[in-house]
Symmetry: C2
Subunit: 322 residues, 2 copies
DNA sequence: TTGAAAGCGCTAACAA
DNA sequence: TTGTTAGCGCTTTCAA
């Protein structure tokens, strides 16, 4: 691939002059400018991003770390982030932690090796000390997406509030018992449960951690057997919701007459499912936009500033399943 | 971040000696080796991948270009590719062309700028002259994944064969009219149609290019109205299939009694849908493995060799919808 | 307006 | 076994 030095030789100017032309400096004689540009075009010059990055620390590279790219929600998020980054002249190095902290840690090292200008991350355990420590060492700006990490720039949806919304909706629809599929420390469950406890439904709300289909189906069956009252399942994500729907169908439980189901993330399949799935929609495009904007701002204007902590709110998408 | 030169100063050796230690050369006195390693650990040294890449052309970076990462199939593929690459010490720069050739072209330039060691691509139009020309200019190895590009290393599933399999299956299940959702030059339709034409069903097989739900639903309705014979819809991917299922439900057409539906890619949701979706499964893990292996081989042992052209075969996953 | 020179962090000769 | 020197492709002074 042709270099500036070679173009310089071909056009009989110095290499820095070529640099000036190619970077759009206006202090070059039009005649030379033409000559250099023509030569660059002819040989299809592409600057060496490594050499450029070696110099001024601007690699125009962003590290993006997600937990699971094969989850439609994160795939969408990654897609939007990539688009936003591209619009601003940045490229993305993508990492998939697969919910494995070892991977996450390893990636953070890789990111440093490539001297990325900044990192967008969906941390596995955003509250852990290890995560904070690693971020400290990174010495490039980091923006946490989807999760809230205290003291760090975070662009996220207020899960507790979303959970409360779900509770209100389910109550209004006449459901009186509740099962959450997911971890009990999950923000959405925290908010969900809190609302329910407040009005005395604490004993009627439980949670199950998803391990595999067999285990979940059994848990579901147990829960169904405990009472004949109309209940609702709040799934931690749409993937779980889809499985719940399937299990319920197998058990010949009618949705939403006997049991309601609501998902989370509002992935695109939801509106085509049978029954159409109610879900909680996160403003993906907006999150991607704000996260990238914040990150680029940190990159462009370094120095300490207060951490961004602006929870966006989710919205309910009500369809047939509740 | 600390550099080799700085470590050299701190440990009172020359910088190349630090390089030797850190790269595991055995020709260094144990005492020095210890000292240097300790210092590196203490300061959490991470080599500068840019400087390294600027030198020996090995950036340990792979460009990955897909058409749509938000499609579950490609998300899975990307995930596997990333994992395979990582196992071999490579990182991934990810691009999403969004089926836009302009993006694709632009990305190929970016890839050159970062001097990636190789590229894995799902091209938009693998048969076009433009694509071949761009690949030529790339002067790094390129492996085409999912599609077949003549004369280039290609790891792909034989879509025509898959299409033929679908035809045989549908016929066996007693369907007698056929509608394919997708482009007529799509390999799977080519193979599908060919099989059908051979036995005289040419006039009974048609295709519709998906534009949006309204248009597709209308086309579907038209097709249904043309005959009362039992027919099947072959969707170009599972996403289309899901929509077809939804449209059919709206039209109160029973699946698979009156109309069969089969998808493509066998995305994970398929087994939970109502009805469970029959689909064509591509060996994603194997494709990722072979593609990365081939690419790394090209990188490690340059020089002309015959292009890899080894079509893998897809397999039918038959569930309730056919 | 242009060029010469230095340097980013590293590897790769080559000497000692 | 270690150090010296040069150079990868670029940007950035500093002179001219």
């Amino acid at each position: 691939m042709i270099t500036m030095t070679e173009i310089a030789k071909l056009t009989h100017v110095s290499q820095p002059t070529v640099s000036r032309v190619l970077n759009g400096s206006m202090t070059v004689a039009p005649e030379i400018r033409e000559r250099v540009l023509a030569c660059a075009r002819e040989h299809d010059y592409q600057f060496n991003a490594l050499a450029k990055g070696l110099q001024g620390s601007k690699t125009k590279l962003l590290g993006v770390l997600v937990t699971d790219i094969s989850n439609g929600f994160f795939a969408d998020l990654a897609k939007r982030i990539e688009a936003e980054a591209r619009e601003n002249g940045y490229s993305i190095i993508l990492f998939n932690s697969d919910y494995n902290p070892r991977n996450e840690q390893e990636y953070l090292d890789v990111v440093r090796r490539y001297r990325v200008d900044g990192v967008l991350a969906v941390p596995i355990r955003e509250t852990s000390g290890e995560w904070r420590e690693y971020v400290k060492k990174l010495d490039v700006p980091v923006v946490t997406v989807t999760r809230r990490a205290k003291g760090l720039d975070s662009v996220y949806v207020d899960h507790a509030q979303a959970g409360a919304m779900v509770a209100a909706h389910l109550l209004e629809r006449g459901f009186r018992r509740f099962l959450f599929i997911g971890k009990d420390y999950d923000g959405k469950y925290v908010g969900f449960r809190r609302s329910l406890v407040e009005i005395g439904y604490g004993p009627r709300t439980a949670n199950v951690v998803y391990q595999d289909d067999v285990q979940m189906n059994r848990a579901l069956e147990d829960w169904l057997g405990q009472s004949l009252e109309r209940g609702a399942v709040f799934a931690g994500n749409d993937i779980y919701a889809l499985r719940v729907l399937d299990a319920l169908r197998r058990l010949e439980v009618s949705v939403p007459e006997r049991v309601g189901v609501i998902g989370f993330d509002d992935t695109s399949m939801g509106r085509y499912l049978n029954p159409r799935l109610s879900s909680v929609s996160q403003p993906i495009a907006r999150m991607a936009h704000e996260a990238v904007a914040r990150l680029l701002d940190r990159i462009d204007r370094p120095g300490p500033r207060e951490a961004l902590d602006d929870p966006l709110s989710a919205s309910l998408v009500i369809r047939e399943s509740t």
